[in-house]
Amino acid sequence: MQSRRIRLVSLYSIPAILRNGSGITYVFITFVLGITITEPLLVFYESGILPIDEVLSKLEIAISVLLAAVSLEGTFPDLVDLGGKGELTGAAEWATYLLHQRPALLSAVFVLEMLCIPLFVATGAFNQLSGDLQFGAIRYQLLRVSRTELFLGRFFGMAAFSILLISTLLLAVVLYMGLRLDLYEWGELLAWGSRGILLFAVMSIPYVALCTMISANVRSPFGSLILTSAVISGVPLVSLSAMTAWAPLGKILYLLPWGFQHRLFHPDPQQALLAVAGCFAYTAIYLVLGCLLFRRRDL
């Protein structure tokens, strides 16, 4: 295995992503939906429909319930009740940190994007190898590089592309907030924004690795799309609903980084570092598993 070849595969794969229908759709969905989901938050404040204090008090309850739910502290209906009464102490402190010690609207955007970006990745990164597998083009590429080099090259190319795309989206939001809203100082906005961009980059990598694993082992791009979307969106849905039947079933959430990715924004730096380590560990697991399966499969 040569790192030079991996680098070449990843470099050539980036323009190929853009020539591909799935790549165009990825950019379009990420940017258009990414901006659209932040819109209600900002419009409420900007057009004066609600005063900022009222927006923040509603957000505080919503974010604390959400953080408690993904931390598996209870079933969703119970958490909504507790959140309404103000009895979610741990999650409420966390929400207070995000909304009062950091630029609140930007933190709220981060929480929303944290729920959506894994789904965006699923709709964009599903066709890394499956299209070539379906049409047999992969056999021509394997004359020049090994399977491992091709697998890793495609992963690094897609990871770089995803990071660039997500960073551009978040940078646009940060710049918009700085230029249009007179709520926060540029310094705090840029500091929190750049930290957020970095953490989102870390968060997206395991999902790209998961998509690489699936697309290298499913012969049809459509099948790969269905499988990646079903796995990434299905795991939290199954986990949170199974929890109502039997609490330990909630641990299904840890099959993907859903279970700990929100800790990237934890006020305790140790927790945040553990979450970063978790993201890299999951990436390594998906890559090793995917590569082993891809090397053994009949092409």
């Binding site: 020539r19 591909n20 165009i24 379009f28 932040t38 057009s47």
Partner: protein, 154 residues
Amino acid sequence: MATSDRPSGLTALAVINFILSFMQLLSMGSLLLARYVRAPHAVGNSHIPEGQAAQLAALAEVPTLTIVILCSLLGISGVLLFVTAFGFLHRKRRFGKHATTLYVINDLTYVACLIAMMPEAHIRGLGISLIRTVFYPIFVGTLVHTVFRRDLVR
């Protein structure tokens, strides 16, 4: 069956352009509706939230000429998007590449006119969706002149 040599990215762009061309025409209709139907009735209406009422009141005072300019630009964008979608599918230089350039110029002019001519209350209501409006023409223009520059040659 003959396989097409058109990159799937161009097909995806064509589909997106068809959808957006329809949406541009809808936006044109909604602007007319907001200015001439909703805005005059919103002034002094206590059922509408304060912020939204301010936006509609500001819209009621926009001169007809401004509305005509903005609607024309939206309409032209809609037609150009439809033409470019056709151009992408058939890999035409004139309808694909050149019409996209015209669309980019037209859409950016629309955003500039919107910011310059519409009242501040209305712009504030549009919020971050302005970024989304600017994003697509820049994205499609860049792709057509870089990634797909050798594909639109017929």
